[in-house]
Amino acid sequence: MTDLNDELRELLPRLRRFALSLTRDSHNADDLVQATLERALSRWTGKRAEGDLRAWLFSILYRRFIDGHRSAQRYARMLQLFGGRDDPLPSAERTVMAQAGLGAFERLKPEQRALLFAVTVEGLSYQQAADVLGLPIGTVMSRLSRARKALHQLTEGEITRPAVRIYK
């Protein structure tokens, strides 16, 4: 168990970063990581240390994000229905990620962010990414193609956008 704690501690920054790439909000990201660790620790007894611990944790985290995201979407639709409100981006974090040069990335769909992050930033193999995201490998490839093109388009837009944006 001590070894597991050390391994988890070492992976913690990566988990938080993956969670941030999905939620785009550091509070929500840490909540997501906490829920992931709770799940991982309560399931650990039946699970041997075989395989990639990082991929296993990433898949738990992604599953939880998707579940939470779905109910949040339902909630947002309900709010929209009642009050006509629509608040798709956490505004404070928007600046944080935009400052880090991630303005284009954060405008991708969540499932595109998850895949690009897993493959490009974390360097997972296509098969590992498929396992983490719970997708067939064929879907990984077609989604990667769309995500990469969308990111490139948004990045081009970002570069040519007037600099006035900074002073907002």
Binding site: M1, L4, N5, L8, R9, L12, P13, R14, R16, R17, L20, S21, S26, D30, V33, Q34, L37, E38, L41, S42, A100, G101, L102, F105, L116, F117, V119, T120, V121, G123, S125, Y126, M141, L144, S145, R148, L151, H152, T155
Partner: protein
């Protein structure tokens, strides 16, 4: 081995360093002669590089003590203990009265105690009298409680209409008994007096009840069965509207 000209899949695999050495070299040679494709691939590589660079800073975020594995493990242990304590309260309190021989004989050979529906009385004491157990469902109107009950017990009798006695369904609770899952719906009148409607399966012994009524301390229980479930209506002895309740239950059967 990839074929040339490369598929888009191969180009992505090249950008993501997922090609073998030989394929990589063959593709690079091909790209050198196809500048248009080369430009696309280079742009993707640049995007990927920027993404990695932008995210690298995030690995050094300030630590959050709540996320330390030791702290998380402590919380998980606490949750587990709380859940087990909760479950234990239910099984002991409901099981002890209902089935005398249960602990001795094990859960398979269930012998229902002489006094029928003791579990309904126990549950009423815990839930409606002492308030030990929180409600699973709190009602705004009677239709909601019925829908809640139907989710767990298909083909159960309709909730008796006790409005003539001034009682409306207010809250409901699922319980674990050694005879199977049970549900109790608590009615309340304007004076805050309570009565409960209790449903559970007849249990592995398929023990059906003849219609009857008995008194247990300060409580009065009416009980009966239909082909699917056992039922009980519990309320305090000496409730002025007791006769109206009995009539309502009688009509519901």
């Amino acid at each position: 081995m990839i074929t040339l000209p490369p598929s888009e899949h191969d180009l992505h695999a090249y950008v993501d360093h997922q090609l073998g050495v030989t394929d990589r070299q063959r593709l690079e040679a091909w790209l050198a002669e196809h500048p248009e494709t080369r430009a696309i691939v280079t742009a993707w590589q640049r995007d990927a590089q920027q993404l990695r660079a932008a995210w690298s800073g995030n690995l050094h975020a300030a630590p959050n003590p709540a996320l330390d594995p030791m702290a998380v493990a402590r919380r998980v242990r606490g949750q587990r203990a709380r859940r087990m304590a909760q479950a234990a309260v239910l099984v002991v309190a409901v099981g002890a009265g209902a089935v005398g021989g249960w602990q001795a004989r094990g859960p398979v050979e269930v012998r229902v105690a002489a006094a029928p529906m003791t579990d309904a009385l126990q549950a009423y004491r815990m839930f409606a009298v002492q308030g030990i157990l929180p409600a699973d469902y709190t009602a705004v109107g009677g239709a909601g409680v019925q829908a809640w009950l139907d989710r767990y017990f298909s083909q159960a009798q309709r909730l008796p209409d006790l409005s003539a006695a001034g009682f409306e369904p207010r809250s409901a609770r699922l319980l674990n008994t050694d005879q199977g899952p049970a549900a109790m719906v608590v009615y309340e009148n304007a004076a805050g007096q309570r009565a409960s409607f209790y449903v559970r399966p007849p249990g592995p012994g398929y023990h059906m009840l003849p219609r009857g009524s008995r008194r247990d301390g300060e409580l009065q229980a009416d009980y009966w069965s239909d082909p699917s479930y056992n039922y009980a209506m519990v309320s305090a002895v000496g409730l002025p509207s007791r006769a109206v309740l009995e009539r309502a239950v009688g009509e519901g059967i």
